[in-house]
């Protein structure tokens, strides 16, 4: 878990924003949603990433998590799972809510 994302050899070049920046940003999002119950927390994170993040940033995060996701909050992993599980189609694309 101590590996710094941006310096890993296995990581492909980012599509938009450097990976270490994405990890910091996503962990801050996890901190915000942390007081919510698990289901709403995951949905809130999914909604936020879906509505506010450039798709290339989302895809880089998804890829990084599937390659191990060192340093990414487990809450983000739960939210990203909703993004990729197909439930994204029913996702909420509106003003911020948890």
């Amino acid at each position: 878990m101590s590996q710094t994302a941006g310096h890993s050899d296995q990581i492909r070049p980012s599509r938009a924003v450097p990976l270490d920046r994405l990890i910091v940003m996503s962990n801050q999002i996890a901190d915000f949603f942390s007081p919510y119950p698990p289901a709403r927390r995951a949905e809130g994170i999914r909604n936020h990433l879906r509505t506010y993040w450039d798709p290339r940033m989302r895809q880089d995060l998804i890829d990084y998590i599937s390659s191990g996701g060192a340093g990414v909050s487990p809450y983000i992993v739960e939210g990203v799972r909703l993004l990729t599980s197909g439930e994204d189609k029913k996702g909420y694309y509106g003003p911020p809510k948890a």
Binding site: P13, S14, R15, A16, V17, P18, R21, M25, Q28, I29, D31, F32, S34, P35, Y36, H48, R50, T51, Y52, W53, D54, P55, R56, M57, Y93, G94, P95, P96, K97, A98
Partner: protein, 713 residues
């Protein structure tokens, strides 16, 4: 003294210097402005004005104005003056070349809150319809983006709930992270008037600002919290409101989602938000937190006014949500004298927010991801639009460094000076193959530009601004544009040269398009504004002359109810330590405007000719610093030099400066941390050390180190 020049023409227009939006009669003599007279019919200022709007207009004839388009192949080459046609063609073909080489999403656009609504809307259209992506942002990203996010999450609209005059019905005024007497002077005077009539005042600000204590004013409670502890303190105020049952249960039951209220109440009632816990962390007497909570909840009319001291934090959006929660819980919304009101810095920050210069929403805060909304724009604009959000301004810079972003069109902004962590931004700008800047003056950012399009000041164009009270005011052309074109005309030329047919006979036609595509602006037109002076949105068939107070019967959310967000306090990663033991916070001064591009070029500069570092005498003396000494301010990111000034406004452990002068380069020092939701930079908290500069060093001009040098130092 009598004015020796007799004006021959008078034009009513709107001041661009802050979010108050004062009306002025601009008087000219033989085509040159000779006086700005505050307009009595102006609904925001009622004939009042400040020192900027009244006197700082001469910048428009400054010798520094660029009046000919400029191009160059490389940023190391000198500029070559060219014709408008050559410059526009060059900009268009270069942006298209970059897109062909690196992909459609490798370019983007940035607009400014100094631009009119019409220009901001057009720059959005340039990115979405012409460049074909949603890489469009505006400078509200770095000031009030958390307002849009935090208020829309709780009360539905990211805008002030009140009109300015509403404050005259307020019994308790709570000012959070704002200093209206300096930043929004005409509104500050109105607030003082109400305070002199006996309204109570709570100020939450690390500095003992003029709003806290000045002639005729003394805050009843001043919470001089440690920078970065806003959310803890606001949650603690909510804790007292809930524990002592000071909330307005009838309002919450009738107007809000009650189950969300209960969840929130249980959350803030936790012992970790008790004043006895939060007080020591925030450097406050716990009883003062209790006093503030009781005073705010007691009203009967309590109004919140807040500024960048709330938003420019890594928890900026959370801080705004705290204010939304608090006002809902205490029933302080939906009538005169109450509300939650962001004080906007620049003249058209509200318009910048409303009109779609964001990567995720079109004008009217409607999501690009929403198929129905997007198709209405596709039909009107006649092109297919990107269904995915684009890059935010800080992410554009990140992407440039990562090699994925290579071209930019920037209107009226100077990100190299105004954005945080300057070394990072310069590194990003150096990666660009085509930067097109449209501005009045060459600036810090134009050092990295390839095309310079000379723009027009707000005195040289037609359009509208939307002020902090949601008031759409007319901007009228007082004098002819010095470089030949109004800014919106230049954008239209660029759109055409890039292959998109755009045609408007005058700026009013752009406003008509805005009205067609943005529900809150539906009823607004030049005709209406010329007829009734101004109108606050929402303005439509239900409110043909606009709306002064929002949320009277319901909140603009799907179920019409306000809601509560859980606002956990997460301390910023920016911490003081032995090496950087002081916290630097930044702000503004009355006589200057923003990065000073305009006001520094007027006589106003005599009042504030340099930025100084306010430091407590205790902190200064322990470092051997005397009042007036030149000092070096260093952070993890870089360092700069300026003059120290002993100040009783800042407590021990805190230093403060303004950012009006480019040579101060204070953003070399500020951090790369940003708001979790919007990436609004954390300007208000940077851990620094201050050291005295040796005598010979003081002779030299302030010289800044790069990040690498600072790290090894």
């Amino acid at each position: 003294m009598a004015n020796p020049i007799k004006p021959d023409k008078q034009v009513v227009t709107t001041c661009a210097y802050c979010g108050v939006g004062c009306g002025f009669k601009a008087e000219t003599h033989q085509g040159r402005i000779v006086r700005m007279i505050p307009w009595k019919e102006g609904k925001a200022n009622h004939g009042h004005s400040c020192i900027k709007g009244r006197f700082a207009y001469d910048y428009y004839v400054s010798d520094d104005r660029v009046t000919t388009p400029l191009i160059r192949k490389s940023i190391d080459d000198p500029w070559t003056p060219v014709s408008w046609e050559t410059a526009i063609q060059h900009a268009a073909s270069e942006l298209r070349r970059v897109q062909a080489k690196y992909g459609a999403k490798s370019v983007g656009a940035v607009s400014s809150s100094r631009c009119t609504n019409e220009e901001i809307f057009l720059v959005q259209k340039l990115a979405r319809a012409v460049m074909g992506n949603n890489n469009i942002d505006n400078c509200a990203r770095i000031c009030h983006s958390p307002t849009q996010f935090g208020l829309s999450a709780t009360v539905g609209w990211g805008a002030a709930s009140q009109h300015f005059d509403s404050i005259m019905q307020a019994d308790v005024i709570m000012v959070v992270g704002a200093n209206p007497t300096e930043g929004h002077p005409v509104f500050g005077s109105l607030m003082k008037r109400r305070l002199r009539q006996g309204a109570k005042l709570i100020v939450i600000d690390p500095r003992r600002t003029e709003t806290v204590q000045s002639p005729h004013i003394r805050a009843d409670v001043h919470l001089n919290l440690r920078p970065g502890t806003n959310v803890a303190v606001l949650d603690s105020i909510a804790h007292v409101v809930v524990r002592e049952k000071l909330y307005n249960e009838a309002f919450v039951r009738e107007r809000c989602e009650f189950d969300e209220f209960e969840r929130w109440a249980a959350f803030v009632a936790s012992d970790r938000y008790s004043p006895d816990v939060v007080g020591p962390e925030a450097g406050l007497d716990p009883d003062l937190i209790r006093k503030a909570a009781r005073l705010y909840a007691s009203g009967p009319n309590s109004a919140i006014y807040y500024g960048l001291g709330v938003t420019e934090h890594s928890q900026g959006s959370t801080g705004v949500m705290c204010l939304g929660n608090l006002s809902l819980a205490c029933g302080m919304l939906g009538r005169e004298g109450v509300g939650v009101n962001p004080l906007r810095g620049q003249g058209n920050v509200q318009g910048g927010s409303c009109l779609g210069s964001w990567p995720h929403v079109f004008s009217g805060y409607r999501f690009v991801t929403d198929d129905e909304v997007r198709s209405s724009f596709e039909q009107d604009w006649g092109v297919a639009l990107d269904p995915e959000p684009g890059l935010r301004l800080p992410n554009m810079f990140d992407a440039a460094i990562a090699g994925n972003f290579r071209g930019m069109y920037i209107m009226g902004e100077d990100p190299v000076q105004s954005d945080p962590n300057q070394s990072h931004i310069i590194e990003a700008m150096r990666q660009m193959e085509c930067v097109v800047i449209q501005d009045l003056f060459l600036n810090e950012t134009s050092k990295y530009a390839h095309v310079f399009l000379p723009g027009s000041s707000s005195l040289e164009k037609d359009g509208s601004f939307t002020s902090a009270e949601r008031r759409v005011n007319r901007v009228r052309k007082v004098v002819e544009p010095l470089a030949g074109y109004q800014d919106w005309e230049i954008v239209v030329m660029l759109m055409n040269a890039m292959g998109y047919p755009a045609k408007y006979a005058h700026a009013g036609e752009i406003l008509d398009e805005i009205a067609r595509l943005s529900p809150a602006y539906k009823g607004i037109s030049f005709e209406l504004l010329d007829r009734i002076g101004s109108a606050q949105w929402p303005c439509d068939e239900n409110a043909p002359t606009g709306t002064e107070v929002l949320h009277r019967e319901k909140f603009p959310r799907a179920n019409g109810r306000g809601t509560f967000m859980l606002t956990e306090y997460v301390p910023t990663a920016e911490r003081t330590n032995d090496k950087f033991p002081l916290l630097l916070t930044t702000g503004r001064i009355l006589t200057q405007y923003n990065v000073g591009t305009q006001t520094r070029r007027t006589e106003n500069n005599r009042w504030h000719s340099e930025d100084v570092l306010e430091i407590s005498e205790h902190d200064a003396r322990t470092r051997g610093i005397r009042d007036g000494d030149r000092v070096k301010v260093s952070s993890r990111f870089g360092s700069t030099e300026l003059k120290a000034k002993y100040s009783e406004r800042v407590g021990s452990g805190i230093v403060y400066t303004t950012f009006h002068h480019a040579e101060t380069r204070i953003n070399v020092v500020t951090s790369d941390l940003s708001d979790w939701a919007t990436n609004c930079p954390e300007y208000k908290v940077t851990a620094v050390e201050v050291t005295k500069v040796a005598a010979e060093g003081a002779q030299k001009r302030a010289k800044s180190k790069t990040r690498e040098e600072a790290v090894t130092a």
